[in-house]
């Protein structure tokens, strides 16, 4: 076996790494060569990309198909609004703290929903999210059913003027998206990622080789919840207004995210990126049609699950034998 080495990167993945870095630099300097409208769009695409990668890690890699991730988006939002309004905390610090708090909340939740298997797990996570939504709308100090707002005094802590605020919020959004994508990438390259691949191929076989399937899935669930909490807090830092209906909305934070991942290609890192782009392009042209737009998205998702489960990226990757992220190991001489 002399001369054989295990490699993870391919020529395409190394080239893509450089493209990614250049893209990030271009996006970071965007405020100096583009307008506020583009910044808002990029930032929105960014947090949807983060949500899509997180759901993809959970459903596509760990087999935990959750339709209740809106629970952690809402929790993140409420952590931000409560800590800044009632404790006077700096908003950006509160966004960061949303992560550990969401993680702590996700542990007892996992102990309940992990008792359900497969598709029943999905509906169980949904019940949890509904429980949070209904529970929060009973709590007076969280504004009950009418919700909360971030006052101008709180927002001015980020920067005194509007332009400065937009700039900082934009950069923070880039940082959060980059961080979340890096976390997903690193989790998949870690031993947990290897364990996930083993569990996906055969749960009994991987368990007999010493993979602790429960612990691996629990770790993924908690990490995902923490990241989703941070993204949620950030989303509502931009929106400045939060109600239980919007914070825990399954349509806004889970349904469209699932469509993005499924259309792009579930179980790949490239798929969600493609899915987010396709979603926003379609939205640009079709959002005036409202319900028809959602009917179309639903039909496309159904068609993809029936005809090409690996999604658009899967079709491209197979046609050109292309892998942009170095996740798999392969031998080379």
């Amino acid at each position: 076996m002399a001369g054989v080495t295990v490699e993870r990167s391919t020529r395409a993945s190394r080239a893509f790494g450089i493209v990614l870095l250049l893209g990030l630099v271009a996006l970071a300097t965007l405020p100096y060569w583009s307008g506020a409208g583009t910044m808002r769009l990029v930032s929105e695409m960014g947090y949807y990309l983060a949500l899509a990668q997180l759901w993809n890690l959970l459903a596509g890699y760990a087999g935990l198909v959750s339709v209740g991730q809106q629970a952690y988006v809402g929790i993140g939002g409420y952590v931000l609004f409560y800590l800044t309004s009632d404790w006077g905390m700096h908003p950006l610090l509160a966004v960061a703290l949303a992560g550990p708090i969401a993680a702590v909340i996700s542990l007892p939740v996992a102990l309940a929903v992990f008792r359900l298997r497969g598709a029943y797990f999905a509906v169980g996570t949904w019940v949890i999210a509904e429980t949070f939504r209904l529970g929060v709308s009973l709590i007076e100090s969280l504004g009950a059913g009418s919700g909360m707002s971030l006052t101008p005094a709180i927002v001015r802590q980020i920067a005194p003027d509007r332009a400065g605020r937009d700039l900082i919020v934009y950069w923070v959004s880039l940082a959060i998206v980059a961080l979340v994508c890096a976390v997903v990438y690193l989790v998949l390259r870690s031993r947990h990622g290897l364990a996930l691949a083993a569990i996906r191929d055969s749960e009994p076989a991987s368990a007999s080789l010493g993979v602790d399937t429960f612990r691996t899935k629990l770790t993924i669930y908690v990490v995902t919840a923490a990241c989703t909490g941070v993204v949620g807090a950030f989303i509502f830092l931009q929106k400045l207004r939060l109600t239980p209906e919007v914070g825990f909305s399954i349509n806004d934070w889970t349904v469209v995210v699932i469509f993005m991942v499924v259309i792009g290609g579930i179980g790949t890192l490239e798929g969600p990126i493609l899915g987010v782009i396709v979603y926003f392009v379609l939205r640009e042209f079709l959002s005036d049609y409202g319900t028809w737009y959602l009917i179309l998205l639903g039909s496309v998702a159904v068609a993809i699950m029936l005809l090409a489960q690996e999604g658009l990226w899967g079709l491209i990757a197979r046609r050109f034998d292309l892998r942009l992220f170095s996740l798999r190991r392969h031998l080379s001489h």
Partner: protein, 288 residues
Amino acid sequence: MTEWLNILIQGALLGGLYALFAIGLSLAFGIMRLVNIAHGDLIVLSAYIALVTVNATGMHPLASVVVVVPVMFALGYALQRGLLNFTLGGGLLAPLLVTFGISVIIQNVLLQVFNATTYRLQAGPIETASVGIGGIAVGVFPLIVFATATLSIAGLQLLFYRTAIGRAFRATSDDADTAELMGIDNRHLYALGLAIAMIFTAIAGVLMAVRSTFDPAAGPTRLIFAFEAVIIGGLGSLWGTLLGGMVLGIAQSVGSALSPSWQILAGHIAFLVILVLRPSGFFPRTRD
């Protein structure tokens, strides 16, 4: 004392409706191992078909089942044969996400056709009629709903354990490959399975349309109630599902007696408590 007894009885009878919501979900899981995320939306779709039928013919809302049941039966057969059969056998993701897509499609088609207006079917004097049992007035309509649920489950038990087709369903559920070797056409049988599930979905939809208001977005909540009844009762046990529905109904009606905004939340909390304490429900049967 009488007041609380009243609350318990109302809750238990409400459980009959939840059991009817749950039968279709439970059957599809028991026979095809399919968890139908669009189940709640199919209940709501049945309600809308009843609405159209009543408006077009002027018949009594409860009589509209003679139209809604055959329509949903045919739709169930077509849906399984034309779409869902192709998702089975290849893991969890395809059936889950396909029915999820169907759920979004049904909701938005209903929204497009009927707007967001809430509707309710007026059934006349039967809605307010009641009989006195030991000093407690019990509504006739909730009694009819509960009796329908009980009869439906009894009928299904007969179908499964006393008929040839029932034996075929049980055989396919136990081991689909061997059943096929014995000459059973699984594709047809699965389609028939969803069609039969849709009979009860249709009945549930009509009864729901009389009992409460509905709108295009009402489906997901019905799915969650059905799911909670199934899990509380134990997967695969139909009588367990009836009990699960009653537990859920009682929890909701106790919650609502404390404060109206607690009704649904109390049901969810009861479900989660039972899930943690007794994860396989009261009458576990099927293993997944």
